[in-house]
């Protein structure tokens, strides 16, 4: 199974390239992906799969396009 990952902000440097494709194993979740990339503090990270906001427990599927960024809320 293969997914496409796009990292933004401080997460860009968590992989050799901020946009990359990656093989995943059956049962891998968004959280597993984030942890494997050593993305900091779970409160300040957010994922979309195929343009839909998902929770970290969501299972990844073949062909998924995952965007991971830091939500901002200040004014």
């Amino acid at each position: 199974m293969k997914i496409q990952v796009h990292l933004y902000g401080a997460f860009r440097s968590s992989a050799p390239s901020p946009s990359f494709s990656r093989e995943i194993s059956e049962g891998m979740t968004v959280k597993d992906l984030m942890n494997s990339l050593h993305l900091p503090d779970p409160v300040y990270r957010m994922a979309l799969i195929n343009d839909i906001r998902v929770k970290e427990g969501t299972l990844l599927r073949n062909g998924d396009e995952v965007h991971i960024f830091q939500p901002v809320g200040g004014g």
Binding site: Y8, G9, R12, D41, V43, Y44, M46, L48, N50, D51, I52, R53, K55, H67, F69, Q70, P71, V72, G73, G74, G75
Partner: protein
């Protein structure tokens, strides 16, 4: 309809001027607008609205007019925008709306300035510490553009007062600093059928989107995280000086497009800005 006495006086006091583009317009300067206003007993605002109807341009808008057109400037002057939050983003939004010539500005913020606002909040000077942000904002608008009607509400927006506070507005600007209130605002503008421009900052990161009534992009975005995410990554990255300036300008551009019905709105996703790397990305978001 313009009263003929007002029209005649405006014509009498106006004079032809060349803009930077070499186009010839008939202009009305501020002292003449004030004279017409005092002779006829109307406001400078009414004089400017009448002048634009006669295709006579108040000089303050000369540098806008080649991009906006006379009818565009006139539409802005007749429009009404509510700014919720008068801090880093809101202060700059208010400043830009006033200089663009948005004719009615409603400012909603119950907060007072504190010393740590000085790094980024354009409305806040040392002398303004402890003053109400909404009142200072209104004072600033009046000092920039006396043709604008500004209404300060020095109270925080809640589910109970939102309809009363926003009722007169055509567009709402979300310049808040708390995610939970942003989500409340999205719900309210949906019910009131008013479009909203959302902007948020954290560190050198920022995001902008336009929320059309019925869209729940913000609640989708922050889904399930509102409890822990009373604030976003700004809690750890702070809110440095430059970020609100960029995001506020983009928010005001969305407001202009909404009012004038032109250009392409930032909808169905975020414009996500990473200023440190000079990267602006479009992140699509389906609801």
């Amino acid at each position: 309809m313009i009263n003929s006495e007002v029209g005649n006086l405006i014509r009498e006091f106006s004079s032809p001027v060349l803009t930077s583009a070499g186009k010839k317009y008939i202009g009305l300067d501020l002292s003449s607008a004030r004279r017409v206003a005092s002779e006829v007993g109307i406001s400078v605002r009414e004089v400017e609205i009448a002048a634009l109807e006669l295709e006579i341009i108040p000089v303050r808008y000369f540098r806008n007019i080649d991009s906006l057109g006379v009818s565009g400037q006139s539409r802005l002057l007749l429009s009404s925008v509510a700014v919720v939050g008068a801090g880093g983003l809101g202060g700059l939004v208010i400043e830009l709306l006033a200089r663009m010539g948005v004719g009615n500005i409603i400012i909603i913020d119950g907060d007072r300035f504190t010393e740590d606002n000085l790094n980024r909040q354009i409305l806040c000077r040392e002398d303004d510490i402890d003053r109400l942000k909404a009142e200072v904002g209104a004072q600033r608008v009046r000092a920039i553009n006396s043709a604008i009607e500004v209404t300060p509400h020095p109270i925080f927006l809640t589910g109970d007062n939102a309809v009363d506070l926003l009722g007169a507005s055509q567009v709402v600007v979300d310049a808040l600093d708390r995610i939970s209130v942003r989500i409340l605002l999205e719900k309210v503008i949906g019910e009131m059928n008013i479009p909203m421009v959302h902007g948020a900052i954290g560190g050198f990161l920022g995001q902008v989107t336009t929320v059309m009534p019925g869209s729940n992009i913000l609640s989708s975005l922050y889904d399930g995280q509102t409890a822990e995410l009373a604030r976003g990554v700004e809690s750890v990255l702070g809110t440095p000086t430059v970020t609100p300036a960029v995001i506020a300008a983009l928010e005001v551009m969305e407001v202009i497009k909404l009012i004038l019905g032109r250009g392409t709105l930032l909808q169905d996703g975020l414009l996500y800005l990473e200023l440190e790397n000079a990267i602006f990305s479009r992140i699509n978001l389906k609801m």
